[in-house]
């Protein structure tokens, strides 16, 4: 708002000066002032395509005109006149007329929040007015401002109903090879029934509480590495009707990604280069060695154990007088750089004629992790190099027959230190500062028996592991329009073949470390850890093939005001993962819709859907959904009421769907035996000859079937004030049943594991609101969009073990709520310690956590655990604002989550790790007693204090300045002379500012993983 006011003030100042000038000039040039002349010009879009129908308005003469199909316009103007160019889909812009000879070149840029009339929904595009379900969409603009390696990042906070949590700041890689053991002619593949490949390891996405199905250009694939500049839109389909064509997968909701379609015209090229600086967030604060030693001693003292460090040790740690014997190494400073760099380049070309059009998008990502150190022979830092190509060719073979061909390909090369990025990171968190010196006096790596692997050696001398991933995704779509024979009849066939393969080359090595010791004049170096020459192992880590066929025939007919559509649909999705048998999903569906004059809507789909992983004869089921809608603004009473003209749209809609979810596993209905995974062989006889060991897997569940959902959604879409204010509200109630879970009444007497059975019932309900306001003051354009989601879940039925006490029961609680003890602060006195309830076998002492003994038996055990997690509905929201004025633009995303809990699990000493962090200084001591923030210190895991309880629980609420961008586009007339259509420089950022209720850690990341990052990114985009 402040910016807005100052801009107005500035404008006012400019106006004043301008008026003064006019007054001054009038005195001398009265003649010229009155002179009107015709100005001509040309209006284009970002790519230089002519824009027709743009309103042109002269400020002085008040004349209006509009552009023709070539984008040219003529208008009467005066000297020093200002022309305003308006179009509903573009931002208003202005141009100044110098004199009659001026030819005006104007480029319009699309509105920040695009609001096209048609929206990409499942397998088709649909008129916005006809959508009855709950669909939210964002477009390229909102995707490209986020500097991140995946397009999943910019989804955060922008789509109502989609909850995201970033759990790590660097991709996770899988290096373990596939393989199978052949024992006496029987094959035992080691990793059967894996999930499909997914290139998003960093963010968890849930849509109305379910893990969504990702659909890229009509095909189910978990691909998150498409260049955002290549994406036209990302939609979330949240209700049962919108997803029902997925049949057995329709319960989960859909993230629908549509890549950019070709635009005809001469080739237009868009080139972007950007470079980001990444800074880690939420790194811990390790204790310096002397403090660590002191506190460790305190822990030993508390447990009546001999002290580990002497006064001389403290001094040596403190004054760093003996860096080899008494090291003090902050591993985060030693192994992490302050920043790392991510570079991205992308090139997009589109063009073509009436008969054929094409797009080609190329992108390259070069991302680097934070690791310091190097090796002269090879790269030691973790890096990602990714190349993607996406191309579309649309060919109109005849007027009726249209063919689209799409190819997406990705090649990715990852590098990491041979010891493994994740392993190094987790050791950085758990290795104390005094564990060992990085180097010994003779230059060898320091280490001890407990820490035989030197971290710096693991980073720089452990060789490297490379991963290669390849994705090819090819789509062929054919549409035939039978209008010539039967008006309104059409047919479509889509076929997709896609493959994914990943492999790794493991050239890791191991270097030993040495413990340096001096006794008298004698120095010794004791070796720990092992030598291992650099390995050279090639592993196939994943291989997947997908084959998809879709065919549909449809009919569209309008009789007077009655509009009908009907569609028969069949698709078949076959996926082969590694050595598994293919999994085939098939859907045979009939869909129909009817609307009367765009006023009343009705739609229904019935889908007979099957998955061949279910027992024969039990593979197919019937899924159906329907919806109704009413557009009140189309009613006569509404149309005729002049008082209601400010309401442009008001539509009520509701859908219901009976949906499915086929998380069937790999032939779990068949009883089977397998090689014992833990001990595959048994040694027998005095030679201990290896004998294979075959054991029965869990019991089979011959009745296993798909999970089901009853999904209801009701919503309202409204538009006000010439469509400037848009409002969408949705209410949903989704009841999921036949959920697979283990039965509660399991007895071990059966002697074998129980299978998953269709038992559970969960309910999810919620409200989602989204509103957008876009307007301009002259050529000052502004837009604001906000969304908020309330999500509530409840376990309706869970086949629990008979729980003795009501507070132990999870039925009726939110789904997945954390159970634990209720902490009542720290015990302060010996007397309190003796009288407080305690875990069996544990003797409480002052400084221990006191728990509520819910069943009053004097013991703390499972009976005293209750739902301590968040029981209120989850709330998440995002607000995006955009301003643009004369080539400058700025946009901001604020995002946050409320009613969320965070459980700390980095309790130093206690949680098994040996490292200590500065927050344990607040531990309980007799002196600090009630002011303490941490229990008394004990070495190792403490049976009383290190259990899940409210003591370790904090609010997980947070609010972030998630993303912001400022950009400047060079004036069009200037760059047009250089044959560019656009040159824009920009700077943007990710995770710029965070306000968290619990700020010691990053609120999204839990555990010892790669930190999430703040990114400041600079770039330039050139279009010509």
């Amino acid at each position: 708002m402040k910016i807005y006011i100052t801009t107005i003030a500035k404008t006012y100042y400019v106006m004043k000066t301008f008026l003064a000038l006019i007054f001054f000039t009038t005195c001398f040039c009265v003649k010229s002032m009155a002179q009107q002349f015709t100005v001509t010009g040309n209006i284009v879009d970002e790519y230089g395509h002519a824009l027709s129908g743009v309103t042109v308005q002269s400020k002085k003469s008040a004349a209006t005109s509009s552009s023709d199909s070539n984008g040219t316009f003529k208008i009467q103007a005066q000297s020093k006149d200002v022309l305003l160019f308006r179009d509903t889909n573009y931002e208003t812009t202005s141009a100044t007329v110098k004199d009659a000879s001026t030819i005006i070149f104007v480029k319009l840029i699309p509105n920040f929040f695009a609001a096209p009339d048609t929206i990409n929904v499942l397998y088709e595009t649909k008129n916005k007015q006809k959508i009855l379900g709950s669909v939210a969409t964002i477009y390229t603009n909102q995707l490209t401002t986020t500097p991140a390696p995946l397009y999943a990042y910019p989804l955060t906070g922008r789509l109502p109903g989609l909850y995201t949590q970033q759990t790590r700041g660097w991709e996770g890689t899988n290096n373990s090879g596939l393989g199978s053991v052949d024992v006496n002619g029987l094959y035992y593949p080691n990793r059967k029934g894996l999930n499909g490949p997914n290139d998003n390891t960093e963010l968890t996405l849930t849509l109305r509480g379910q893990q969504p199905v990702t659909i890229v250009d009509g095909v189910q694939r978990d691909i998150y590495t498409i260049d955002p500049e290549n994406i036209e839109s990302v939609s979330v389909l949240k209700d049962g009707l919108s997803t029902i064509l997925l049949g057995q997968r329709s319960s989960r909701g859909v993230i629908l990604v549509t890549t950019k379609k070709p635009v005809s015209g001469k080739p237009h090229i868009s080139l972007t280069a950007q470079s980001g600086i990444q800074t880690p967030l939420g790194l811990p604060d390790p204790l310096p060695a002397y403090q660590y030693a002191y506190l460790y001693n305190e822990g030993q003292y508390n447990e009546q154990k001999p002290l580990s460090y002497t006064e001389a040790d403290f001094q040596a740690y403190k004054n760093h007088s003996d860096i080899y014997g008494h090291p003090d190494v902050n591993w985060f400073n030693t192994l992490f750089k302050k920043n790392s760099i991510m570079n991205r380049y992308s090139l997009n070309v589109t063009g073509g004629g009436a008969a054929a059009r094409y797009t080609i998008g190329l992108s390259y990502l070069d991302d680097n992790a934070l690791f310091k150190g190097s090796n002269p022979d090879y790269e030691t830092n973790a890096t990602i190099k990714r190349y993607t190509v996406n191309s579309n060719i649309d060919v109109d073979v005849t007027k009726e027959f249209k063919v689209k061909l799409q190819m997406f390909a990705r090649v990715q090369e990852d590098n990491q230190p041979g010891a493994g990025t994740d392993a190094i990171i987790s050791q950085m968190f758990t290795t104390p500062n005094n564990a060992y010196p990085v180097f010994n006096p003779d230059g060898s790596f320091g280490g001890t028996q407990s820490y035989p692997k030197n971290l710096y050696a693991q980073l720089t001398q452990s060789g490297y592991i490379q991963d290669y991933e390849r994705d090819i995704f090819s789509n062929l779509e054919m549409n035939y329009n039978f209008d010539r024979f039967v008006p309104g009849l059409w047919a479509k066939v889509q076929s997709n073949i896609s493959v994914f393969a990943s492999n790794s080359t493991n050239r890791s090595a191991a270097v030993p470390s040495f413990k340096f010791a001096v006794s008298g004049s004698d120095t010794t170096y004791n070796r720990y850890g092992s030598f291992a020459d650099q390995a050279n192992a090639f592993n196939l880590t994943y291989s997947a093939q997908f084959w998809y066929l879709q065919s549909a025939i449809g009919y569209t007919r309008s009789i007077k005001k009655n509009n009908f559509t009907a569609k028969a649909f069949y698709d078949r999705n076959e996926s082969i993962f590694n050595y598994d048998l293919p999994e085939t999903n098939q859907n045979l569906a009939i869909a129909g819709s009817y609307d009367f004059d765009g006023k009343y809507f009705a739609e229904a789909t019935v889908n007979y859907s099957g998955n061949d992983r279910y027992p024969p004869g039990k593979q197919f089921g019937l899924f159906y959904a329907g919806g109704i809608g009413w557009n009140i603004t189309k009613e006569n009473f509404f149309k005729n009421s002049s008082a209601l003209q400010w309401v442009n749209n008001l539509k009520l809609r509701a859908t219901y769907g009976k949906t499915g979810n086929d998380n069937v596993g790999y032939f779990t209905w068949r009883e089977s035996y397998q090689l014992n995974v833990v001990n595959p062989t048994y040694p027998i006889g005095i030679s201990r000859a290896s004998q294979a060991v075959t054991q029965q897997t869990t019991l089979a569940n011959p009745n296993v079937t798909w999970e089901k959902g009853d999904k209801f959604n009701a919503g309202i879409d409204a538009a006000f004030f010439k469509n400037r204010l848009l409002l969408t509200a949705d209410f949903y109630n989704d009841r999921y049943y036949d959920l697979l879970q283990l039965r509660g009444k399991q007895t071990s007497l059966i002697g074998i594991g129980y299978p998953l059975e269709n038992l559970g019932i969960n309910n999810y309900s919620g409200i989602e609101l989204q509103t957008t306001y876009q307007n301009n003051y002259k050529d000052f354009n502004y837009a604001l969009s906000g969304n908020i989601s309330f999500e509530k879940s409840k376990v309706i039925y869970s086949d629990e073990v008979v729980e003795k006490y009501p507070w132990n029961v999870s039925t009726g609680q939110p789904v997945g709520v954390t159970f634990g003890y209720i902490a009542q602060g720290l015990i302060q006195t010996q007397q309190e310690a003796e009288t407080s309830p305690h875990p069996a076998g544990y003797i409480l002492q002052p400084g221990d956590i006191k728990y509520a003994d819910l069943n009053g038996d004097g013991l703390i055990n499972q009976y005293d655990q209750t739902a301590i997690g968040e029981t209120k509905p989850l709330v998440f929201y995002g607000v995006t604002g955009n301003l643009s004025y004369k080539g400058f633009d700025i946009n901001i995303l604020l995002q946050g989550v409320t009613n969320r809990k965070y459980i700390m699990n980095d309790n130093s000493f206690g949680s098994g790790t040996q490292q200590g962090y500065s927050y344990i200084i607040g531990r309980w001591t007799p002196e600090t007693s009630t002011a303490s923030t941490f229990p008394r210190l004990t070495p190792g895991i403490n049976a009383n204090n290190d259990v899940t309880s409210t003591f370790w629980q904090r609010s997980g609420n947070y609010f972030r300045l998630k993303n912001a961008e400022v950009g400047y586009s060079l004036p069009y007339p200037l760059i047009n002379r250089l044959h560019f259509t656009s040159i824009r420089v920009f700077a943007n950022g990710l995770n710029l500012f965070t306000q968290a209720a619990f700020s010691r850690v990053d609120p999204e990341v839990n555990g010892y993983t790669y930190p999430i990052q703040r990114v400041i990114n600079f770039g330039i985009n050139i279009k010509f």
Partner: protein, 540 residues
């Protein structure tokens, strides 16, 4: 593109092994049935390993404590810490898992046309003996348990089965053993069959079960609940136990291994009746060996107690508190029962040709935050006889369930209880002491039944230290309350001074035992709440 989808696949993964593969009606070698039989073997408890957390079960008795933090699971066993929710030595579900496998084998193996009929009979016997073994695992922990017989339960069955009485379970195990003995191979089995149940293996199991059944805890000494023992004392149970042991002795197949240390590390000892064979390795050494041996790194997880060390008398056969023993508290490890140096590593003991330093600040007890001995002792038993660091290498670590020494001491104990001291008993006990290297090894043959009992009990403690005997012995003798509750367990704190080493006995762990319930493990809570007929043990 369309054509490529027409490839045909089998409807189910035929490579997945199903029951028809395991019990193949055409395979005269029974290859897959044999793999299944070995899966039952591999389910036997690995008592030679650090199976409780990273500790030996002995660290839950008065023989040792864990070197790890006090929250190590095994400590719960020694400090009243087990609950209906958490028992680090819970054997309920793994035993019933083994029982199901054995029953499945017994029910279905007959269709396999194994060529050698004797072999086929023996495989049945092995499965049956292992099933009895699994029941025994349950009974000694929980008392009487549900007996499932030959039924294999399915998902549809309502599995609400009550516990059988202790006596019924013992009878069942004994009768199953008898049935197995009929079909098992004769002893000694050929080398290739070493590690499989033999006739004497099943006899040794029977002998042990009967010894337990005759012992004070069960033989009328419990709360009077038939689930946890016999309701009245019957001296004849000692006779049955003695007879069962005698049966093996009179076979005269097994003999004591001349060299004590060899029992645990050589390829096949003539003393081992039944063991779970293990591949070459050194897990015992890496888990329990002394710390700070650079090329032979041990984690030092087990800290033997002073109580155990004191149990070992002098090499002249006298106890250390015997006035004439010659024990010197300033040089406490000299002239001790030779088994002591094969059982624990004490300060000054040789390990890899180096003298162990467990004095405070010594190389193997340096202080600091590293896991290290809590008592001044490290485990020595089961470890290889290594001359130096370069000879530190893999050897055999079988989980020995039954060895001849136990049969002798079982016999001695049962016979002494039944009829008092006799020459046969002295012969048995003295043979153990002789092999141990005591000189003189003979006992005073005029001692009373009570004195002889004390000697036999202590002989068991020394002979079977860390072999998962003591932990159960103190329970069946019903002395666990006395053992755990008579003050803390101790270690030694050795301070180097200018006048030599100063030995101080120091407390290391306050053990405790609730006699009202701890003699029997609690039935896991889920088993009680899901089975209306399941009765929890008293006190839990």
């Amino acid at each position: 593109m369309v054509l490529s989808s027409c490839r045909k696949y089998e409807a189910v993964p035929v490579e997945t092994v199903t029951q028809d593969y395991i019990f193949d009606t055409k395979d005269s070698n029974g290859i897959y049935a044999s793999q299944y039989l070995f899966s039952i073997y591999s389910s036997l408890p690995d008592i030679a390993g650090n199976r409780i957390g990273r500790d030996l079960l002995a660290a839950g008795s008065d023989d040792a404590v864990t070197s790890q933090s006090t929250a190590a699971p095994v400590t719960l066993l020694a400090t009243n810490g087990i609950t209906i929710f958490n028992n680090p030595d819970d054997a309920w579900s793994r035993s019933y898992n083994g029982i199901r496998m054995a029953t499945n084998f017994l029910n279905n193996f007959s269709v396999v046309p194994l060529k050698n009929a004797n072999e086929k009979r023996s495989w049945f016997g092995e499965a049956r003996a292992m099933r009895a073994f699994f029941y025994w695992e349950l009974v000694r922990r929980y008392g009487g348990v549900p007996l499932l017989g030959d039924s294999l339960k399915t998902l549809k069955d309502n599995i609400q089965i009550p516990r059988s009485s202790f006596g019924t379970c013992v009878n069942y195990i004994v009768s199953e053993c008898n049935q197995a003995i009929d079909s098992l191979r004769d002893d000694p089995v050929i080398d290739a069959n070493y590690g499989r149940f033999s006739k004497d293996g099943a006899r040794a199991l029977k002998a042990r079960v009967l010894l337990f059944a005759a012992s004070p805890l069960y033989n009328g000494g419990n709360t009077g609940d038939s689930l946890n023992g016999y309701t009245s004392y019957d001296a004849n149970r000692w006779k049955l136990a003695a007879d069962a042991a005698k049966e093996i002795i009179s076979q005269d197949v097994y003999h004591l291994e001349p060299n004590f240390i060899d029992i645990f590390i050589i390829q096949r000892s003539n003393e081992v009746i039944f063991a779970k064979t293990n591949t070459l390795g050194r897990p015992i050494e890496t888990n329990n060996g002394p710390i700070n041996f650079a090329t032979a790194p041990g984690a030092g997880n087990t800290s033997p107690t002073q109580e155990l060390v004191n149990a070992f008398g002098m090499s002249n056969g006298l106890e250390i508190n015997d006035p004439g023993s010659g024990y010197d508290s300033t040089n406490p490890y000299a002239n001790r029962d030779p088994r002591l140096s094969y059982t624990v590593l004490y300060n000054g003991a040789q390990w890899l040709s180096t003298a162990i330093q467990t004095f405070n600040g010594g190389i193997n007890r340096p202080g600091g935050s590293t896991v290290q001995t809590q008592t001044g002792y490290y485990l020595r038993k089961f470890m290889g006889d290594f001359k130096d660091q370069t000879s530190y290498q893999d050897h055999y670590h079988d989980a020995i369930y039954f060895r001849y020494a136990e049969v002798l001491l079982n016999y001695a104990e049962a016979m002494n209880e039944y009829s008092g001291p006799s020459e046969e008993i002295f012969t048995a006990v003295e043979s153990i002491r002789k092999r141990a290297g005591l000189n003189p090894y003979t006992l005073d043959h005029s001692i009373s039944k009570d004195s002889l009992r004390t000697i036999i009990h202590n002989e068991r403690r020394k002979e079977f230290a860390f072999e998962e005997q003591r932990y159960w012995d103190i329970r069946r003798w019903k002395i666990a309350g006395k053992v755990y509750n008579s003050g803390p367990l101790h270690g030694i704190s050795i301070t180097p001074t200018i006048n030599g080493l100063l030995y101080n006995v120091v407390p290391v762990l306050q053990s405790s035992f609730d006699e009202s319930k701890m003699y029997f493990y609690p039935i896991p809570n889920t088993e009680v709440v899901t089975n209306a007929k399941m009765r929890q043990n008293p006190g839990w």
